[in-house]
Structures are given as structure tokens and as C-alpha cells.
């Protein structure tokens, strides 16, 4: 019985899930109707939980791509800038077209934006895999330069678009469910299928755990790196278009600002190590939900804006501390304390990276 208890506590998703439940409980105490989901006049789901799922969608989409990049022992700092570039590209195409409300126009705009992001993602992949630049530096280039590119596209302006099909991407509903949430769910499912139902996920992990050993075993790291950075950039562009559509304007300075940090945080909260290797998409989902619930909690509970950052930091510190191997090792010691005779004979369980 006790063993099961410790097994549950020791699971890498235990503490993030506890935090999620605690945050939701705090909200319910403050706003009794927090969990209620109603159907509004237009037949769409309406409620705080729906807001969390919708507003958290861009972070989740980026975090999925980031998970794979981090699994290869890399990191992609340029996703925020890619959001801005994709949004700027889509908006400027829609604005220059004669008919912004044409579905075809919007489709072209979105596809061009995605293609541009993919090219930039492959550029990241080339810097990392072919030139061997450290990922944090390689993607820092595009992180800095990317906002400049977005500014060039928007000519320094905030581009406002009045386009019904474009607006649908960020704030629309499909069968009552927010479209952004549907996109995030599809992305998560597709990436999970692609990496877990094939050997791809294992190959990515092997590159992250030991690039040299993987190479000698015949894994082509170069192609895999191109793939993950390209995919990460593509997903960043998807998120960028959702963000831009949600605010009906391309803002080169602010779209996706600091979202790379939220995405990395979501991945880390989900138990994927920044040292690469084993990754968990379910963990990333939980991480992204924790982050968005945290943001919503700040607004709902009415934490003063000045204290917001401290509150967020406290929650993150709490989760990471509880999750850390050191804490688990301490729990382990506590667990074996009542049976001092046995501990001496049993080799201590290795605390592997979690």
C-alpha cells in the first residue's frame, strides 16, 4: 500500500497535477462558478475552463515542438519571433489582397506564413546540425533577428485585419469547441502518433542521450535535427497565426513575446529533462495547462499586478522543487527509514534523471 503511495508520489507528473488541482481549487473557492461550462447564445461553450483551453492552445502547440527539440538536447529560442513573423506575413498578405474576407486569400496567407516559418526552422536546423553551433546560440540569432524581419514585413506598424475567415482561426468555434483548442489537440495527437507509433521518437531520444553512440549505431542525427527544428518552427507559426488572429492584428513587437520561456517551462514542468533524451508529450500537456491556469488564476483571484511575477515564480519554484531528484531521494530515505534492517541489504535505488 505504502509502496503504491510512493510510486504515485514519485511519478514525474504527480506534483504538476497536484498543482493544477490546487490552482483550480483556489479559483473555485474565489469564484464558485469557475468550473461551470454553459452554452451561450451562439451555441458555443462558455466558461473559465474553456478560456484556459483556448488561451493555452498557442503555448501548448509551441511546447509540443519544443519537447522534441529539447529531447535532442537542443533548445529553440526563436519560436516567439517566429510567431511574430508568421502573424506579420499572414496579415500583410490579407491586407494587400483585394478581398480580405475570401477564404482562399486567407488560406494562401496562412500557407505562405507557414512555409516561411518552415524555411526559417530549417535554417535553425542547418546551423545546429551542419555547422554544429550550440542550439541556444543558433536559435538566439533568429530570436533577435526575427522581430526585425517581422518589423520589415509590417513596416513597423501594427497591422489590423478585418477578415472573418482569419478571425475564425483564433477566436472561432467548431461544433461549440474553440478552433484553437481543436488545432492544439490535433497537433498533440499527430505528433504523439508520429513519434510514438513509429521509431521516430526513440531515434530522437537516442540523439539526445548520446549523439556519438547514435551515430555509430547508424542513426542519422543530421536529418533528425532538421526535422525537429523545422517542425518546431512550423508549430510556432501555427501558434503565431492563432495569436495574431485572436487579437485581429499583427504586432511585430509583442506577438509571442516571451512565449519561448512559457513553452520551455511547460516542457520542463512536464518532466522532460533539458539534458535531452526521454521526453513526455503528456507531461508537456500538463505543463502547458498549469501555466495557463496560473495566468487565469492571477486574473480571477485578483492578485495585484505588481505581485504577479512573484506569485508565478513561487508556484514554479514549488513544483520544480517537489519534482526534483533531490526531493525524491529525500522521500526515498524517509520511506526506507522505518525498516532499518532491510535498507542495509538493499542497494539504494538509483535516482535517474527525471
Amino acid at each position: 500500500m505504502k509502496d503504491i503511495f510512493f510510486k504515485v508520489i514519485g511519478h514525474r507528473l504527480f506534483w504538476p497535477l497536484v498543482m493544477l488541482v490546487v490552482l483550480i481549487a483556489i479559483n473555485v473557492i474565489n469564484v464558485p462558478g469557475f468550473l461551470s461550462i454553459t452554452v451561450n447564445a451562439e451555441g458555443n461553450l462558455f466558461g473559465s475552463l474553456i478560456d484556459i483551453l483556448r488561451n493555452g492552445a498557442p503555448t501548448l502547440i509551441i511546447a509540443v515542438g519544443m519537447t522534441l527539440v529539447i529531447a535532442t538536447r537542443g533548445i529553440d529560442l526563436s519560436v516567439g519571433s517566429l510567431c511574430a513573423i508568421a502573424g506579420a506575413m499572414a496579415c500583410s498578405i490579407i491586407l494587400t489582397s483585394p478581398d480580405p474576407n475570401n477564404v482562399g486569400t486567407v488560406a494562401v496567407a496562412v500557407l505562405v506564413a507557414l512555409a516561411l516559418a518552415l524555411v526559417l526552422g530549417l535554417w535553425n536546423g542547418m546551423l545546429v546540425s551542419v555547422l554544429g553551433i550550440q542550439p541556444i546560440i543558433a536559435t538566439l540569432i533568429l530570436m533577435t533577428a526575427g522581430r526585425g524581419i517581422a518589423m520589415l514585413i509590417t513596416e513597423g506598424q501594427i497591422l489590423t485585419v478585418q477578415s472573418t475567415p482569419f478571425k475564425f482561426l483564433g477566436s472561432g468555434f467548431i461544433y461549440g469547441v474553440p478552433f484553437a483548442t481543436v488545432v492544439a489537440a490535433v497537433v498533440l495527437a499527430l505528433v504523439a502518433l508520429l513519434t510514438r507509433r513509429t521509431a521516430l521518437g526513440m531515434l530522437i531520444e537516442s540523439v539526445g542521450i548520446n549523439p556519438e553512440a547514435s551515430r555509430q549505431a547508424g542513426v542519422r542525427a543530421r536529418g533528425l535535427l532538421f526535422l525537429v527544428y523545422g517542425l518546431c518552427a512550423l508549430l510556432a507559426a501555427v501558434a503565431g497565426i492563432i495569436l495574431t488572429s485572436n487579437q485581429t492584428a499583427a504586432d511585430a513587437n509583442n506577438t509571442g513575446l516571451f512565449i519561448e520561456l512559457d513553452a520551455i517551462l511547460a516542457v520542463v514542468l512536464g518532466g522532460t529533462s533539458l539534458n535531452g533524451g526521454r521526453y513526455s508529450l503528456t507531461g508537456t500537456l500538463v505543463g502547458a495547462l498549469v501555466i495557463q491556469t496560473l495566468i487565469t488564476t492571477v486574473y480571477t483571484v485578483g492578485i495585484p499586478p505588481i505581485a504577479t511575477m512573484v506569485f508565478k515564480a513561487a508556484v514554479v519554484v514549488a513544483v520544480t522543487l517537489l519534482q526534483s531528484p533531490t526531493t525524491n531521494a529525500a522521500l526515498e530515505r524517509w520511506r526506507s527509514r522505518p525498516k532499518p534492517t532491510k535498507t542495509s541489504s538493499r542497494p539504494s535505488e538509483p535516482v535517474v534523471a527525471r
Partner: protein, 332 residues
């Protein structure tokens, strides 16, 4: 729009405005330059702009360039791309070229003493536009021309107080603040709070930062709509957050401008459009059109006249009807 003002101002909470608050004392530096009383077409003014970071700033640049062209005064223009070092080197080059006046919108509040002293030594009067510097030595510049954020908040608050002057029940107000710690956010909140303090029915029940962005305003408003049982009015500290709030209110099945009234600051084009459409109820202008007043200052200094140390931009307010009239001829 004023976001970058805020971002940079946040770095230096020591308000530069306090240094200029003794606005009544006339500047002694008027006509200090050796170039006094030149014919207008011989005057050269160097202007070091912040950059082109927002629609507001672009309108500001265009207005200044147009005004100088119209007045027939030669303008040397540089864009610092939001970097202080670019701006300092632009000002140095103006000093070397021996322009008659230098005008600039400081990227940040601090670190200007050295270059301003160089200008002073060269007897070139400096005019600050839109943003202040926190130099203790106010003789380093002739005047500061820009908006009074406290006044903007106050105007918004006064409209609210007037709108609900006969209200007997409590009026629940939610506030969407600008970037935490920025000068416009602090000052607009202060002016607004002061103006509604007289009526005890007016209560700010919730206040959160929306970072001066549409997405921020929308997300905060969505949460407010669920956590606050009754909201009568939104005070958004800029148009963008107000526009975000409109979307959140619409999604919640309420009518913005009717079920929940909205008051904002800025009067950029999209905001004015929403005002004319009846989705916003009142906008306090924060005008980027400084060109005409800047020309006046240059002319006065040229004639050897004294100018005030602090000049507030000519700004107005807009109701829905005024917005409909003003919209077709609006420059930004």
C-alpha cells in the same frame, strides 16, 4: 502605442516629470543660441526620433516632417531604431553640423547628461518631445513638450463621474492597466482614481495589467467577466486593451458600449472607429501630433522669447458623436 514609452520609463521609476514640474518658470535659455532671429528658411533643426515602433510613433514622425515642410524650416531627421546609442550619435552629429536647434524623444530617461552638456556648450537649445529625461540639471534643455498622463486619466475619470452622477447604486468599474511600473500606467491610474474619488458609488472592483496589448486586454477581460458578478464599466488605459475587452465582452454575450461601458485613452484609428461604431463610449486623446507646437517653440526661441519649461500637448476628448465627425479627417 505608448507602450514603449512605458517599457523604457519602467527602467527608471524616478519620474522625470517631477524634475519639470516647476513648469511655470520660464526658460532662461530662450535665444541662448547664437542663431537668434534668423529668417525661418535659414533655420536648421535636427530631430532624433525614437524609431517606428507603433502606429502612434509613425503618425508622430509624419506630423513633424509635414509641419516643418509647411513652415519652411529645414529639418534633419534621424531614426534611432529604439537604441540610445544611435540617438546619442545622431545628436552628436547634429552638434558637429552646427544645427540651430535639436529636438528629440529620448529612448530612455537616463544617461543624457553628457551629450546634453555638449549641446549646451555648443549653445544649441534642446527641445524634448513626448518623453522626458531625468537630468537634475534642467538648464540642459529648453523645454519638454509632451502629454500629461495624469491629466489623461483625470479626463477619463471625470467623464465617468459625470455619466454616473445620479447613480444611486454602486457602479462596478474594472481597470485594464498598462505595463506595470510604466509612467503612463501609473499616472493614468492615479488621475482616474482621483477623479472618481468624489463619488463613493464609483468603485474599481478589479484592476490588472493587460500590458497595453490587445491580447492582454482580451484575456484579462475574459477572466474579469467570470470572476466579477457585475461589471458596469471598463477603464482601459489604452485603445488596444479596450479593443481586446470589446471582443471578450461580445464573446460573453453582452453588448460593449451598452451593457458594459468602455472608456479608453489614445484615440488611434481603430479605437476611434470602435467609438464611432458605439462599442466604446469615450476616448481621451493622447495626441502624437506635436509638429505644430514644436514649430511654435522653435519660432519663439528664434525670436528670443522665453518658453515654458513644460508644455502639455494640445489634446482633446471624443464622445461617440464627435468621433463620427472627426474620423474622416483623422491623420492616424
Amino acid at each position: 502605442m505608448k507602450k514603449t514609452v512605458g517599457l523604457f520609463a519602467a527602467a527608471a521609476l524616478v519620474m522625470a516629470l517631477s524634475a519639470c514640474s516647476g513648469g511655470a518658470t520660464p526658460a532662461a535659455s530662450g535665444g541662448a543660441g547664437g542663431a537668434a532671429n534668423k529668417p525661418l528658411d535659414k533655420i536648421v533643426v535636427g530631430f532624433a526620433q525614437v524609431g517606428a515602433e507603433s502606429g502612434w510613433r509613425t503618425a508622430n514622425t509624419k506630423d513633424i516632417q509635414d509641419s516643418f515642410k509647411e513652415a519652411g524650416i529645414q529639418l534633419k531627421f534621424s531614426d534611432a531604431q529604439q537604441k540610445q546609442e544611435n540617438q546619442i550619435s545622431a545628436i552628436r552629429s547634429y552638434i558637429q553640423q552646427g544645427v540651430d536647434y535639436i529636438a528629440f524623444s529620448p529612448v530612455v530617461q537616463t544617461g543624457w547628461d553628457a551629450v546634453l552638456n555638449e549641446a549646451k556648450a555648443a549653445k544649441i537649445p534642446v527641445i524634448l518631445t513626448d518623453r522626458a529625461v531625468d537630468s537634475k540639471d534642467t538648464s540642459l534643455y529648453a523645454t519638454f513638450l509632451g502629454s500629461d498622463f495624469v491629466l489623461e486619466g483625470k479626463k477619463a475619470g471625470e467623464w465617468v463621474a459625470n455619466e454616473y452622477k445620479s447613480a444611486s447604486a454602486p457602479v462596478n468599474i474594472v481597470q485594464l492597466e498598462g505595463t506595470t511600473g510604466s509612467a503612463p500606467a501609473i499616472d493614468r491610474a492615479k488621475g482616474f482614481a482621483d477623479a472618481i474619488a468624489s463619488n463613493s458609488n464609483l468603485k474599481v472592483v478589479a484592476s490588472q495589467t493587460g500590458d497595453f496589448t490587445r491580447a492582454g486586454g482580451k484575456q484579462v477581460m475574459e477572466a474579469f467577466l467570470k470572476s466579477q458578478p457585475k461589471i458596469d464599466l471598463v477603464f482601459a488605459q489604452n485603445d488596444d486593451m479596450g479593443l481586446g475587452a470589446i471582443e471578450a465582452i461580445t464573446a460573453a454575450g453582452k453588448v460593449p458600449g451598452k451593457d458594459i461601458k468602455i472608456v479608453t485613452v489614445d484615440a488611434v484609428h481603430d479605437g476611434m472607429q470602435a467609438l464611432a461604431d458605439g462599442k466604446i463610449n469615450f476616448i481621451v486623446e493622447c495626441s502624437p501630433l506635436l509638429g505644430k507646437q514644436l514649430i511654435d517653440i522653435v519660432k519663439k526661441l528664434n525670436a528670443g522669447e522665453a518658453v515654458e519649461k513644460r508644455i502639455v500637448t494640445d489634446e482633446t476628448t471624443f464622445t461617440q458623436d464627435q468621433a463620427k465627425t472627426a474620423l474622416p479627417t483623422r491623420k492616424y
